[in-house]
């Protein structure tokens, strides 16, 4: 293996984890527990109860939809924080002055984000199922794990693009909240795509999470992973497109900033 | 009666570290501080970072309860009669925080005028006078976020004076201000002094303290190590002269030898851009320059100057001995 490849791998894994811990201040338990473990359960409960009150779908529908959709909170916020957060610590310029491979640098930062997002969704699904009394068959869990991993990765792809945009707006949290809201409405977490107006459903199909939520629902309902490979493939493709757009946008922002000195906040 | 009496003030903090196994650590920030401030004087509290200046001030302005000891302002106890104390003191700290950025200077002052219960019909005139005093007349309608540090600092002072306090606390007011702004600030403080205001001032700048203060106390590691007028401090510590020698490398290893020379009271090294300047305090009437230079034999030397001690020399000696 070439030295450059090893260096890129080290930036990818070691650098990714270090910067994740350094910049994602939510790992503090006083923040992590309320926002990552408790809030999603309540989101599940809120929509499951609205669903009961409106009498449109069963609890399992809302449980899966919201557990997977909530992965977008860690994916979007953590990705934005680990990249755009460097503006606040005034370290982005220093990082970009290093010769490190940019793709390895940014993708490396996304790996811990993906793992964390997947964990949050799984936790929500397991605890939410207990609270609502929804039974998920033991045999379904490997498939669920697979669908959630794809969902988390593809949503982090969107997070990468959003992080690039976040470098240019004042309040990154606001941007992340808005993207979260768009996903909540459009990705079919609480309203099935075919119950939406057609234009909304087509928006949903080009967003991450949409296909993974559908796949996860089918797996919980008894399908094998093999039956949902098509959905998962489309999910991965959507996420991949956003990730590539994100890397291109980051490169663009980097070039622009060298030209116009727009990177650091004063 | 003194306007402020502090008696054996102490304050300790407990900090915990570690997530699973909590370690508790007790640190004593102020270890028994006693002093008085008389009406109409400017009292300087000097000391290095972390010496306990701000902790002492916070106990006096009722933001922090002393662990033990007591303090009173105009006869009101800072613990038991906190609200009476608050009515009679003003508090201004350095840096650019402590203002509502998105409000105009005028709105900031109006808000605090309400909080200090300045009667409605007096507010307008009072705010006008203060804006004049701190040189912000005409800028009062602008939002604070566009103000320079110096302007913010002067606005802070106006805020602290709204209710015409008997005692004004200025905690490092010149922190981070450029020389011109700092000069304007000193002028403002000097004019408060001529108006007979009582002020407790902390600062890092010795010439500032020398220029403004009637009396100075030096605090080191939570304890007062000296107190007196600037002139007394200069005399008390270095009734003698000071020798400054620019050196170029290796001076640290010779400190022992320099200190061993008779009549040398202290020797400190001041690292500057190119040279390391050795500052040696000598007993008065002694001329041991040759002996000191002999102790430095073998290392490259530059300029050698003998001069009168400044307050800064006194300060450095006090806080580093």
């Amino acid at each position: 293996m070439s030295a450059r490849f090893i260096a890129a791998m080290r930036v990818l894994f070691v650098g990714g984890i270090i910067s994740f811990r350094g910049l994602f201040n939510w790992l503090n338990p006083y923040i992590y527990v309320p926002t990552m473990l408790v809030a999603p359960i309540f989101q599940v409960l809120l929509f499951a109860y609205i669903g009961r009150s409106a009498a449109v779908a069963n609890d399992a529908f809302y449980l899966v939809g919201n557990a997977v959709q909530y992965a977008s909170i860690p994916c979007l916020f953590a990705m934005a924080n680990t990249i755009a957060g460097e503006r606040w610590t005034q370290t982005l310029g220093i990082v970009l002055a290093t010769p490190a491979n940019r793709v390895a640098l940014f993708v490396g930062r996304s790996l811990p984000v993906i793992v964390n997002g997947g964990f949050v969704a799984l936790f929500t699904l397991a605890v939410g199922a207990r609270v609502l009394g929804v039974t998920i068959p033991a045999g379904a869990w490997p498939g669920v794990l697979c669908a959630i991993a794809v969902a988390s990765a593809s949503c982090t792809g969107l997070g990468l693009l959003q992080a690039a945009l976040a470098l240019r707006v004042r309040s990154t949290a606001v941007l992340s909240n808005i993207v979260f809201g768009v996903l909540l409405v459009f990705c079919g977490a609480n309203v099935a795509l075919d119950a939406m107006p057609a234009w909304m459903a087509s928006v949903g199909r080009v967003l991450p999470l949409t296909h993974a939520i559908q796949a996860c629902r089918e797996i919980v309902a008894g399908s094998a992973v093999g039956d949902v490979l098509g959905l998962l493939g489309r999910e991965a493709a959507v996420g991949g497109v956003y990730a590539v757009l994100g890397l291109v946008a980051l490169r663009f922002v980097e070039d622009q900033s060298r030209r116009r000195a727009t990177l650091e906040l004063q | 009666m003194s306007i402020l009496e502090a008696r054996d003030l102490r304050r300790s903090f407990t900090s915990t570290s570690g997530m699973l196994r909590r370690h508790r650590k007790e640190t004593e920030a102020v270890k028994g501080v006693t002093f008085d401030i008389e009406r109409g004087e400017v009292f300087g509290l000097l000391g290095p970072n972390g010496a306990g200046k701000t902790t002492t001030i916070k106990m006096l302005i009722t933001l922090l309860l002393p662990t033990s000891g007591s303090a009173s302002i105009l006869g009101y106890d800072v613990v038991d009669d906190a609200r009476e104390v608050r009515r009679r003191i003003g508090y201004v700290f350095g840096g650019d925080r402590g203002l509502y950025e998105r409000l105009s200077a005028l709105d900031n002052l109006r808000y605090f005028a309400e909080l200090y219960a300045v009667p409605a019909r007096e507010q307008k005139a009072r705010i006008g006078e203060l804006l004049e005093l701190v040189g912000l007349s005409g800028r009062e309608g602008e939002r604070v976020e566009g103000f320079s540090r110096g302007m913010r600092q002067r606005l802070h002072i106006a805020r602290g004076l709204l209710h015409d306090p008997d005692l004004l606390f200025l905690d490092e007011p010149s922190l981070g201000i450029d020389p011109v702004g700092a000069r304007e600030l000193r002028q403002t403080i000097a004019s408060l002094r001529t108006q007979g205001k009582t002020i407790l001032l902390t600062t890092h700048y010795m010439f500032e303290a020398d220029e403004l203060c009637d009396r100075i106390a030096v605090i080191r590691q939570g304890e007062l190590v000296a107190e007196g007028t600037p002139a007394q401090l200069k005399q008390r510590v270095t009734a003698g002269s000071v020798l400054e020698i620019d050196t170029f490398g290796g001076v640290q290893d010779r400190l022992e030898r320099v200190l061993a020379v008779p009549h040398v009271r202290s020797a400190t090294v001041d690292v500057r851009a190119q040279a390391e300047t050795l500052v040696v305090a000598l007993d008065s009437g002694s001329d041991v320059t040759a002996a000191v230079l002999a102790a430095l034999d073998g290392i490259p030397l530059g300029r050698v100057v003998a001069r009168e001690p400044t307050l800064e020399d006194a300060y450095v000696e006090l806080v580093s001995s």
Binding site: A55, V174, V191 | R97
Partner: protein, 260 residues
């Protein structure tokens, strides 16, 4: 008497200046309106599937009031923290004015801003979903709204004081958003919950405010609900005032007022 007059002046002036501060921060303000709209939209899409016009009116009103809760829960819990960041918390405490009189205007301003979110959501429901909410007794409706917002302000006051020593108070506020949405009867009728949960819901002023607003809109008498809502709000104000003195004493003891 002068004490009362100056207290009223502090409250009114504080409210007005805080409102100015919030109004300047337009980007965050937009989020306050837009964020609940995502949830309102989702809820309306869900209720629309049920095909009942009454259910949609129920959801439109509930979604509108829901936004006021989140504006309060999230902002109030961070309100004192942001004063701490600005370095003004120490200045507020070191002034001779009672802490309650300095903080209550902050949450009152937040409640005023929450009114925007409420109106925006009603307009959204009307324009996007074509839901017309009939308001049979506008006077009672206005009174119900006012009391709801006032009690929300005092609840927010209590909240902001409670979390003053908790440096990540905003995370706690975000955490309160969902339970409030769930429990206060905005979009889920209370009888779907177990009795012990209903008791918690009854302790929250918006639960009664929501009932009062629905009653006024439909022409039923809202006055009993308004009275309970107002009384709860008053209770929270008293509790908040007591706690503000207690907790500030403790902050003075532990030296946690400043950021540094």
């Amino acid at each position: 008497m002068t004490g009362l007059r100056s207290a009223v002046r502090v409250l009114v002036m504080g409210w007005w200046l805080q409102l100015k501060i919030v109004a300047v921060n337009a980007f965050d303000g937009v989020l306050n309106i837009v964020y609940p709209l995502f949830f309102a939209t989702t809820a309306l899409l869900m209720y629309r599937q049920s095909g009942s016009p009454q259910a949609l009116v129920y959801a439109a009103l509930g979604a509108a009031v829901m936004g006021t809760w989140s504006a309060m829960a999230t902002s109030a819990s961070g309100a004192l923290q942001s004063q701490r960041w600005q370095g003004t918390l120490e200045l507020l405490v070191s002034s001779p004015t009672r802490m309650a009189l300095a903080i209550l205007p902050i949450t009152a301003a937040l409640a005023t801003v929450a009114l925007y979110s409420l109106v925006a959501t009603l307009v959204w429901g009307r324009v996007v979903f074509g839901i017309e909410v009939p308001i049979v007794s506008p006077l009672a409706f206005g009174a119900a709204l006012l009391v709801t917002l006032a009690s929300l302000a005092t609840f927010g006051f209590l909240l902001s004081v409670t979390v003053v020593r908790y440096r990540t108070g905003w995370a706690l506020g975000n955490l309160l958003e969902y339970p409030g949405w769930l429990l206060c009867g905005f979009l889920v009728p209370m009888d779907l919950f177990p009795t012990w949960v209903q008791w918690i819901a009854r302790a929250l002023p918006p639960t009664w405010g929501m009932d009062a607003i629905r009653a006024a809109a439909s022409g039923a008498s809202p006055w009993r609900d308004i009275a309970v809502c107002g009384a709860l709000g008053l209770g929270y104000a008293v509790l908040g005032t007591y706690l503000s003195e207690r907790l500030l004493d403790s902050a003075r003891r532990h030296g946690t007022l400043a950021l540094t």
